[in-house]
């Protein structure tokens, strides 16, 4: 069953068609990879889902109900959380306070007192293994910890759909391994559906159930990771036309 569905979703900035007539769907329980070269429109698509930009054309449905046109906080409270490519921490706060924002204002946040919200936050801090830094000001932790904090904040919102925007970018090999394990746990243990924008192909190949490829704002492929990497259009998009032809000649 589809948790999220997009019907000919388009976004135009001036003359640029950042996202062009993209049909997509995210099935309940899966990890969907969203890949494509720089400027393909991946982040724009996420921003359309979260309501940051209005759509130029098309429709986005969550559980069959139209959500485009709603304001970002309203969409967040319906159960869609995200992380940011460049983490946007609340810089005047500690790690714990950053995470508590998620448990105070997310899906179940309204019924919660600040006290129980802090207890909730603690759970997510431990989940991403940041307990040693819980009282640290965010400007004093490294990029890997910041990414995990952003993830904990998103999880604290108890989303049905979590969208991770390059959560592994800038991490070293060891941190990438840990993050992959964490993402898999989020999917398996917490039963959260994931949409993952990623450039680290190793991660895409091993954690995604399905991959959607964007290029110049258009969808060029959609399928299991193993088939996607053999797709000529995908290879062409990433490595150029010439390489694709050479490969075909050899193939």
């Amino acid at each position: 069953m589809d948790l999220l569905e997009g019907k000919s979703v388009s976004k135009q900035f001036g003359a640029l068609k950042a996202v062009d007539q993209v049909d997509f769907h995210v099935q309940k329980g899966e990890i969907l990879g969203l890949i494509g070269p720089n400027g393909a429109g991946k982040t724009t698509l996420v921003n359309l889902v979260t309501g940051i930009y209005p759509l130029t054309e098309g429709e986005i449905l969550l559980d069959g109900k139209k959500i485009n046109g709603l304001r970002p906080p309203r969409i967040s409270r319906l159960g869609i959380a995200r992380t940011f490519q460049i983490v946007k921490p609340f810089s005047g706060m500690t790690v714990r306070e950053n995470v508590v924002i998620g448990s105070l204002f997310g899906k179940g946040g309204r019924e919660r007192s600040t006290r129980t919200a802090f207890q909730e936050a603690e759970r997510w801090i431990e989940f991403v293994r940041l307990q040693d830094y819980r009282n640290a000001p965010v400007d004093q932790i490294n990029i890997s910890s910041r990414k995990r904090m952003d993830l904990a904040k998103a999880l604290a919102m108890e989303p049905n759909l979590l969208m991770l925007d390059e959560v592994m970018a800038g991490l070293n090999t060891k941190d990438i391994e840990e993050m992959m394990a964490l993402v898999t746990r989020i999917n398996r243990e917490l039963k959260i559906t994931l949409l993952v924008i990623e450039h680290v192909m190793k991660a895409v190949m091993s954690i995604c159930d399905r991959v959607l490829v964007l290029h110049h704002g258009r969808k060029i492929a959609d399928g299991p990771p193993r088939e996607i990497v053999k797709d000529d259009r995908v290879i062409e998009a990433y490595l150029g036309e010439r390489f694709a032809k050479v490969r075909k000649g050899l193939g």
Binding site: T50, I52, R71, P72, P73, S76, R77, A81, R82, F84, K88, P89, F90, S91, G92, M93, E97, V100, I101, G102, L104, F105, G106, K107, G109, T114, K153, M157
Partner: protein, 327 residues
């Protein structure tokens, strides 16, 4: 263990706070005339600064024109007393409420602006409302100002009464700051200050949170304006819409610590005491010194004096910040 120490500290803080409060209540027995007036004016500045702290400190919206609410409170009180025959206190309360409503109506369009644009818009509104008060002469008294009905009591007890009213209002404002800081609204405001887009992505309704914050800020500023009008029994546009009051409040807030409960009050006491005892004698350089303090605060202690005390920063540590910044 950590928790015990925190609680111990908290208890100490409450005891000191209550003692200081009782001290101010007892003070009128010891002092008179001049010092009663000085302290009343310090309380007033502390209210304006603590109210400004809600929108500018917690929320990060530099409302330079916040003093418009002071003027609205003052004129509402004056008009209601003179033209309708209200009791002074009823006028003050209505003044506060009108200021809050004014902030809601203004906030809907201009709280969409961010950064400098918002700051400049508030300045423009302050000037516009001042101009209305000036031009609507037959109702507001115009540039000549307007005299309120004089209190029917002996002058010394009148000044003592105003002293207690201002002090009570200050307590009320600080208590509100304290409650906001620990509430859901407080977390929303600070998240908006730190990153408005991320705040909205986390489920915070930024526009309504900001409007609520500004209307609370305006309410207290308006109440202070109303009490001021009754206290001075004469107001004119140039005094109650004076942008320098807001500038001073900004210096006080930043000196004490923006976005903290007690910082702004502390800053107000410090600046007003020094200004009254020292600079009062050098009127021409008064503003110069205020300007220098503002620059020094921004460079050396952007988080205010409270941070200096809490972390026990030395002068050397502060001076090192200049070096770090010039790199």
């Amino acid at each position: 263990m950590r928790n015990d120490r925190v609680q111990e500290k908290r208890r100490k803080g409450w005891v000191i706070g209550i003692l200081v409060g009782l001290g101010f209540i007892a003070l009128p027995l010891l002092i008179e005339g001049y010092w009663i007036r000085v302290l009343t004016s310090i309380f007033m500045y502390a209210i304006i600064t603590a109210a400004l702290n809600i929108i500018a400190g917690y929320t990060g919206y530099a409302a330079f024109g916040n003093i418009v609410f002071f003027g609205v409170g003052a004129y509402t009180t004056a008009m209601l007393m003179l033209r309708v025959g209200f009791y002074w206190w009823a006028g003050v309360i209505v003044g506060g409420i009108l200021a809050a409503i004014f902030a809601i109506l203004l906030g809907m369009p201009i709280l969409r602006l961010r950064g400098h644009y918002f700051a400049i818009a508030t300045l423009g509104i302050n000037r516009a409302v001042e101009q209305i008060a000036l031009d609507w002469g037959n109702f507001t008294g115009g540039g000549k100002g307007i005299t309120l009905p004089l209190p029917k009591m002996e002058i010394h007890s009148f000044y003592s009464m105003i002293y207690f009213i201002m002090f009570g209002l200050l307590l009320f404002t600080v208590l509100t700051n304290f409650l906001i800081a620990r509430s859901r609204l407080g977390y929303a405001l600070r998240a908006i200050r730190d990153n408005e887009d991320a705040a909205e992505a986390s489920g915070i309704f930024a526009p309504s949170s900001k409007i609520i914050a500004w209307s609370i800020s305006a309410f207290f500023t308006g109440l202070a304006g109303g009490v001021f009008a009754y206290w001075f029994s004469f107001i004119e546009p140039a005094t109650v819409f004076d942008i320098m009051i807001a500038v001073k409040a900004f210096v006080m807030m930043m000196l004490g610590g923006a976005g903290t409960v007690l910082g702004p009050v502390f800053g107000a006491f410090l600046i007003e005491l020094i200004s009254e005892t020292v600079w009062g004698k050098f009127l021409t350089v008064h503003m110069l010194i205020l300007g220098i303090i503002m620059v020094a605060v921004v460079i050396l202690i952007p988080r205010g004096m409270l941070e200096v005390f809490q972390k026990r920063l030395s002068l050397m540590a502060l001076l090192r910040r200049i070096k770090d910044q010039s790199v």
